[in-house]
Symmetry: D2
Subunit: 338 residues, 4 copies
Amino acid sequence: MIIIMKQGTTHEHVEELSQHIERWNVKANPIYGEDTIVIGLVGDTGAVDKDALMLDPQVENIIKVQEPFKLANRKFHPDNSVVEIAPGVVVGGKKLVVMAGPCSVESEEQIIDVAKHVQADGATVLRGGAWKPRSSPYSFQGLKAEGLELLHKAHEATGLPVVTEITNPAHIDIFMDKCDCFQVGARNMQNFELLKELGQTRKPILLKRGFANTMEEFLMSAEYIMAGGNENVILCERGIRTYEKYTRNTLDISAVPVLKRMSHLPVVVDPSHAGGIYWMVEPLAKAAVAAGADGLMIEVHNDPAHALSDGAQSLTYDSFHHTMNALRAVAAAVDREI
Amino acid sequence: MIIIMKQGTTHEHVEELSQHIERWNVKANPIYGEDTIVIGLVGDTGAVDKDALMLDPQVENIIKVQEPFKLANRKFHPDNSVVEIAPGVVVGGKKLVVMAGPCSVESEEQIIDVAKHVQADGATVLRGGAWKPRSSPYSFQGLKAEGLELLHKAHEATGLPVVTEITNPAHIDIFMDKCDCFQVGARNMQNFELLKELGQTRKPILLKRGFANTMEEFLMSAEYIMAGGNENVILCERGIRTYEKYTRNTLDISAVPVLKRMSHLPVVVDPSHAGGIYWMVEPLAKAAVAAGADGLMIEVHNDPAHALSDGAQSLTYDSFHHTMNALRAVAAAVDREI
Amino acid sequence: MIIIMKQGTTHEHVEELSQHIERWNVKANPIYGEDTIVIGLVGDTGAVDKDALMLDPQVENIIKVQEPFKLANRKFHPDNSVVEIAPGVVVGGKKLVVMAGPCSVESEEQIIDVAKHVQADGATVLRGGAWKPRSSPYSFQGLKAEGLELLHKAHEATGLPVVTEITNPAHIDIFMDKCDCFQVGARNMQNFELLKELGQTRKPILLKRGFANTMEEFLMSAEYIMAGGNENVILCERGIRTYEKYTRNTLDISAVPVLKRMSHLPVVVDPSHAGGIYWMVEPLAKAAVAAGADGLMIEVHNDPAHALSDGAQSLTYDSFHHTMNALRAVAAAVDREI
Amino acid sequence: MIIIMKQGTTHEHVEELSQHIERWNVKANPIYGEDTIVIGLVGDTGAVDKDALMLDPQVENIIKVQEPFKLANRKFHPDNSVVEIAPGVVVGGKKLVVMAGPCSVESEEQIIDVAKHVQADGATVLRGGAWKPRSSPYSFQGLKAEGLELLHKAHEATGLPVVTEITNPAHIDIFMDKCDCFQVGARNMQNFELLKELGQTRKPILLKRGFANTMEEFLMSAEYIMAGGNENVILCERGIRTYEKYTRNTLDISAVPVLKRMSHLPVVVDPSHAGGIYWMVEPLAKAAVAAGADGLMIEVHNDPAHALSDGAQSLTYDSFHHTMNALRAVAAAVDREI
C-alpha cells in the first residue's frame, strides 16, 4: 500500500501519520520528493483501513499494491488448477469441456432428448435450469424441484454430469444429490450469503461473472467460496453490460487471457448469453477457444421456436453439430482438443 | 407489440405467422408497406413469446410497446404513492425524508449517539447496517443479529424508525420486529428469491437500484415485491457504474425525474454511495433535492476516521449539520420542506 | 511516479533500473518491503516514458502521482478563473450565465426572434449552430457561413454575445469576427488539431466534454488550448454515454463539484443534450445550479415541433420563461444569482 | 418508421397527425388496437423529422425500422466488398491482411528495419504514425511531414503499401502521394469534416471505430465517406470503453460477426490498442481470426522498451514471428489463410 500525501505536508505530519499507521503492525516508510511525499507500507496491509486513512486531510490518494485475492491468485499458486466435475470430466486440462443443454428444463422427454443429442456431439456436461431468475415476475420461473428431478433422470439416462443454477442458500440441501456442479448466475455473483454457504460444500461451483463486475470483483467472489474451504471454482465469462445495444451483452474476450494470468482457476465462456442470439454463438465460441478458454457453456434446445425461455439464443441440434465440428478445428489449431 | 418483417417476405408467410400468433389470443394486424411489412399485435401480449417469434427466419425485429411493469406504472396509478415508515414519517409527500446514520452499527453507544445527533438536525429515519455485504471476505461483515438489536435500542432511545439492509430471505423473521423498513441493497436488486419473500410482508421496502441496472429493470424489481402484495416500495438511486472512475459511481440524477414520470412510487437518493467521498455529499444532495427527490439517505458517523466501513464517505456531525441547513434552503426553493 | 516491482526482484535489478531511470533526470528512491519493492521517482517525471518502463520484465505496475494537467490545475492556481465573453458577461462569478438559443440557426427572423425572447427572460449569451455535426450524412448540416452571418445579425439586434460551434481549423478566420466564444463540441473534444489552433487565438472557448471522456481527459483537452496561450476556457458537462438508454445521455452531475475541485476553470452544464427531451431540462438545470455550476446552456426554439434539429429537447418560450423563474429560486438558495 | 400513440388518443387526433405526416410524402397507416394505437409509415421515411413528431403530445414513442445507413448496408449489397490497397493486396478475400509496424515512425533506419522484419513474417501492409493524436499536449506528437516521407522510403525499400493516420483535412494533399491507405483514428471517427473530404478521394480508408461509438454510428461514419463517392472503406474494431479498467479497452469481439452481417465492408481488428499490453496481442489476434475478421493491425517495434509511444503494447520481432505462426494455424482452422 502506498499513501500519497498532498503537496506542502509537513514532515511532522508525515511522522505522526506513520506512527498512527504502525499500530496496524505494518512498517511505514516515508519518501520525501521534490513535489511529492509518499509513504510506502510494508508488511501485511490487509488490516489497514484505507477509508480511515483517506480522512487524513493531508492524504491525497492511497494505492493498493497487492491484489486483494489470495487463494484465487496465480502468484501464490503458479500451476493451473483442474476441477473435476465427475470421474473423467475435468475442467482446466488439455481437453476442453463443453457444457450444453437447454436454458430451462421443460419436461422429462425434452431434457433426456437434449442430453442424448449433445452427448452424441461431444458435450461432456449437461446444463439446464430448474430455478430461473427472470427480470419479470410474470415470466416463466422454471420447474424448480421438479426440474432438478428431471435433470437427475437425464443424468441417469446418459451418464452426463449436471450443472444447474442455485439462487437461494436454503436450496443447497436439495441440490446436493441432484447435480454435480452448482452454477452461480451473473445476478448472484455478489450474493455473498449464497457464496459463503456454497463455500461450505465441496462440490464444484461454476461462478458466472456479474454483468457489470470487474475481473477483480469476480476473483473476490471466487475468494468468498474458496475462503470457506471449497477450492473447486470454475470461472465463467458471459458478457458484460456496455453502451452497445446491438448485442445483449458484450463478450469480454480479453477476460480469458487476463483471468488465466491473474488466477490459476479454469475459465469457461458462455457465448449464448453473451451474444443473445443464435447466429453469434459459433463465431464467439470459436473466438473463446482461440483465446485460450478451458471450455464452453452453450444453450441447445430440441425446438428453440417453442422454448419456454431464451429460445432466440439456443442452438438447434443441427447447428450444435455444426458448431462442435468447427470448434474441433479451432481447438486443434491452439493445441487443445474437444 | 410490433413485429417487423424482413424485406421480401411473402404475403403467405405473413398470413401464416399471423395465424400462428393468434393462438396466444391476440389479434395480428399486418401492414404492407413499400419497403417494410410490419404486424401490429393487439390485445394482452403478455403471453406472447418474443424469443420464439424471433426464430421465424423472416422476422427482422420485435418491439414491445407496453412497458412490462404494471403495478409500479404511473399510467395505471396517476397519483403519487406515499409510503408510511412510521406514524408521521411518510415518504412521497411535501416534506422530504432524511434517513441518516452510520454505514455499520458498531456499538450501542455509537448508534445511540449518532441517532440523537442526526435526529437533532432533522433526520426522521435512522439508517445503519447490521449485515454488511462486502466485496472481500476479509472485510468487516457487520455485527449481524447483535447489530439489529442495537438498532432497536437506538429506536427505543430516540423514537426514530429504523431502516437496515437484509441480504438473505432466511433472516426476514428476525428483522420483522427490529426494523421499520427493509433495505434491499444494490447488489441484491435482482435477488428475486429475496424480493419475492419480501413481497409477502407488508413492511416498507427501500429498494436500491443495482449499480448497472436500467430504470426498467429497477421498476421490474419493484414489481416483484408489489406482485406479492406489498405495495410499500421506495425507490433509491445510488449511482451507477460507468467508465468514469474519479467518482466511486456516477449519480444518475436524471433517474429522479424519469422514475417519477414512469412510476408513482417515491424516489430517494443516496449521495454517500454515489460519490463515495464526504465532500461530494452536500452538492449531490442539493442536486437531488433540486431535481425533485422525495428524500435522501446520508451516511453520518460519530468518528469517520475510525469507522469500520465506508468512513471516507461519511459525514461528521458538523458537516451533517451544515448540509441539512443547506438542504433546507434548496428544498424551500422547490416548494418542499425538510 | 511510483514503480511497483514484482515479488522476488533482486536488489541488483532494482539498482540497475534506478540508474536507467536517472537518465531522465529524476531521482529514483527504492524502498524494500517484505512482500513488495517500490521505486519512488522524484523530480519532474514528465519526460519519463511509462510505456517503456512497463516493458521491464520485473515491473508490476506504474502509478502516476501527479495529475498530468498543469495550467488547468487548481493546485497551481487556487482561485477561481473568470472568463469574460463580452463586456459585463463573465463566467465564473456569483452571477450565473445562461446561454440560450436554438440548436440550429434556421433564418434571420428565427434567430433574432429567439434572441429577443431569451434575452427578455435573462439569458446573457445567445447560442446557435451554424455548422452542425450530425451522425448521418443525410441529416441537415446547418446553414454554415450564412448561419454565422445570421448569428451576427442577432447579436447586432440584441447586443447578446454569441457562442457557436466550430468543427474545422480551417474555419477559424471566418468565425473570428462573427462570434464571441467558440464552442468545441463533444465529438471534437479530442480533435487536437482544432484545439491547438484555437489555443493560438485569445477568444473564449466553451469546451464540451466528450460523451465518453473522463474528467482527466477533459482537463487535458483544456490543457491543449491553454498550452497555446489561450487561458479563456469554459468547461461544459453535457452528459456521458452509459448503459442506460432511457435518457439520451446520463448527466454526470458529480462532474460539477469534481471539476471545480480539480480545476480553477468555470463549469457550465448543458441539460438539453444530457437528457435529450424537453421535460428533463428544468429538473436537470435546477440540479446543476444546486450542485454549483457557473452557468447553463439551454436549447430554446420558437417552434420546436418544426425545428430542423433537436426539436425534441428544445424548450418553447413559455417553458424557458418558467424554467428561468424556477432557476432564480434555486440560485438564490445556493447564494448565486441569475 | 412506426409511431406509437399514447393510450386514449382520439381517432381524430390520429387522422390529423396522419395527414400532417403525409406532407413528407410517406403514407401513414394507423392501426387501432385494444390498448394501443400505432401508425405505420411506408415510403421513404428519410425526410420525416422524428424529433418534431415526438413533440406531438399524444406520441408515446417512434421506432425506426430501416437502418439509417444505405451504401454500407449489406441488405442492398449482399456480396462482400473487397478493398484493394495495392496491386495484390486486397482486404476482404480468403487471404487475411496483416498490417504491421510501429506506433510512431521514429527514424529512417527504424521504419525500414521494422518494414523488412514484418514483411519477412508475412505482413503485407506497413503501418506507422506520422501525426500522432495524444491525450497530452506534452507527449511526443509524431514526426509529422518527415514521418510521412520516411514511410514512403520504407515503401520504396520493401514494396509494402503504407497505411497512416490523418488528423486534419488540410493534410490530405500531402498524404495523397505518400500513403496507400488513409487511417482515420478512433478519436476522429465522428470528425465529419475530415470524413467528408476523404470521401472526395478514391484512396482506401481504414476507419477505426470510436472508443464509445455504437456499431450503427460506426457504419454511419462509413456512410459519410461513401456518400462522397469513395466506397473503399475498411472497418477496424479496436476496443471500446467500458467500466472494466484492467484492459486499456474492451475488445468487442462480437463486432466482427455483427459488422459483417450488417454491412458488406471488410472488417479488421487491432488487438494492440484493444488490450493495451503486449501479452494480450496474440490471444486477441487469434480470437479475431477465429471470429471471422478479414485482417489484423498489429504494432511491432524494433525496440519496444525505447519506443517513443505505445511501447507497452508493441510486439518485438520475435513475438511477432511467434504470433504470425500461431495465426496461420487458426486461419487454416477457419478456412482462411495468411
